[in-house]
Symmetry: C2
Amino acid sequence: MKFTIQKDRLVESVQDVLKAVSSRTTIPILTGIKIVASDEGVSLTGSDSDISIESFIPQRDGDLEVITIDRPGSIVLQARFFSEIVKKLPMSTVEIEVEQNHLTIIRSGSAEFNLNGLDAEEYPHLPQIEEHHAFQIPTDLLKNLIRQTVFAVSTSETRPILTGVNWKVEKGELICTATDSHRLALRKAKLDINEESSYNVVIPGKSLTELSKILDDGQDLVSIVITETQVLFKAQNVLFFSRLLDGNYPDTARLIPQESKTDVVVNTKEFLQAIDRASLLAREGRNNVVKLSADPAQSLEISSNSPEIGKVVETVQADDIKGEDLKISFSPKYMLDALKVLEGTEIHVSFTGAMRPFLLRTPNDDSILQLILPVRTY
Amino acid sequence: MKFTIQKDRLVESVQDVLKAVSSRTTIPILTGIKIVASDEGVSLTGSDSDISIESFIPQRDGDLEVITIDRPGSIVLQARFFSEIVKKLPMSTVEIEVEQNHLTIIRSGSAEFNLNGLDAEEYPHLPQIEEHHAFQIPTDLLKNLIRQTVFAVSTSETRPILTGVNWKVEKGELICTATDSHRLALRKAKLDINEESSYNVVIPGKSLTELSKILDDGQDLVSIVITETQVLFKAQNVLFFSRLLDGNYPDTARLIPQESKTDVVVNTKEFLQAIDRASLLAREGRNNVVKLSADPAQSLEISSNSPEIGKVVETVQADDIKGEDLKISFSPKYMLDALKVLEGTEIHVSFTGAMRPFLLRTPNDDSILQLILPVRTY
């Protein structure tokens, strides 16, 4: 293998596939990045066996020659060293040549690195996925779907299925749900898809977070292919594979209250900042809770109390309060997480009493919903 | 005590004095910030008993009233909570009022915090320093003196005196020296001071690092007062006290070679970047060294070798090489640290053989000098 490549393009692709490479792997070759040079271009692959990322750099970009291929071939190089080396090379082009015994020479200007490579034939094959049933989502929408749900997955391995986000496709609609059993995030989107298609899978939260990082901003379509054990996201020159989680996702629909006793509409930013201030003292308290009291005749009062340090109380002017008086306690962290992903200047909070889960929504938008369980305080 | 103050000014001062507050202190009241309000303004103090910082906010700034003092007084508030609270307050002004039993009310907009304060009388007094013998240094020069030496102090407590920077004033000149016994950094500066004045003290490296962080950029003069056990830096509205280290600083002058056998002049940036690249593979090697070979007939060759990973070799064009052939090994970290603080586009490196310390200097500038001990390799 021998080729010369624009350094910036190589650095960018290496950074993308590096996101799948873990230093804590039981398969030594997976600490490497696989490089394959063909007449069409150079492809890089990284994998931790849960996630695999393939980035392709085409030989030409319009009129610009990005790569000069002298001799096609392949090699696996230590990801950590290779990525740091290419970043620090002195010139704008890099020559990579594989000699005997997988010895790889990286040349740029007067710098010459010799790295001991590994046989690319030993590198695990990526999953073979048939693409009959792909559907498309614009990149910006996909990133929002992820951002507005993935924070709510469980970080505990007690119920592994809850560490993933449930993706359900039904009647032309995608419903993404995440819950750690203390709060739940739900986001829906209409798909341009055959109404007959239906899927119900659980994608690891970590995979979605990494996917989100390598997707560019913009509205380019990402193709999504779901199989029994794998999901593949295909963006411009990038393939992102993730395994799916085994098991059945719990039926969360029945957790969502269908009626409410107290309804509040309030400015998102003012509410968020007041909760944030109250959380400063909540952190120390034994219960780590913030209290909210809503009185239809008046406003919202947000308070917290940490006996040794002090207390805080703040009034937030609500745009509307309807229904019964209410005093409720909750984790400020869950509340802040939910408020940060809700769009719009106003939010609508629906309570069904101090001991029942409550809902946060954007008024007049049923595509997003956040549910939080209150904390019992006496 | 009761006053109203511009939030931004308070936040800024709190951030400054916070740098002296440690959460790991054996004196509980030192986890707090002391606040004193007088008719002239408000002063804040933080201390970990090694370093003490006092920041004064004058009641007026030109025509602008920064503080409205209703009732002078004093209080000590938990630093961690107080600093986070003031940062997150909703309005541009803050009212702080102390009621009975040191209960302190912090009001801003509709937010009201009640914090349990402590009696300011219990807070340790700052050192009393007589200012007969102050000398002045412009802020930018002071920050350079610190930056160009403090990185070389020892991080090990085996010889505590080496964790500080030696400040010696003699014949109108300040000489700052730091060494961890593997490398040495020296920086001199002419002072506008009586030629008779002489000092020889050791200032903890940590104190100088923190001082550097709170000094603004610019050329305002900082007054420096040195006593037997303390040093005081007086900048605009900030007093910075540090204890001095006990003991005699070693005589380092005899370590500095007075002659050389190989002299190299090279572009600082090219040399630094080549060392940086070579260090990528040095990190893994058992010796963690980079090799340099200088041949007056040719150029500099920089190389490193890590048997399992690979090797790197690079040629750097020197502007001048004089004297004997040389092969030498050194820690790339020490070399990079030294190169980063040397000013100018060129540096002059003087070697006295492979086993002797070598010097790095800016050509035609004897105010700064970096010394590095080589590593013996076979």
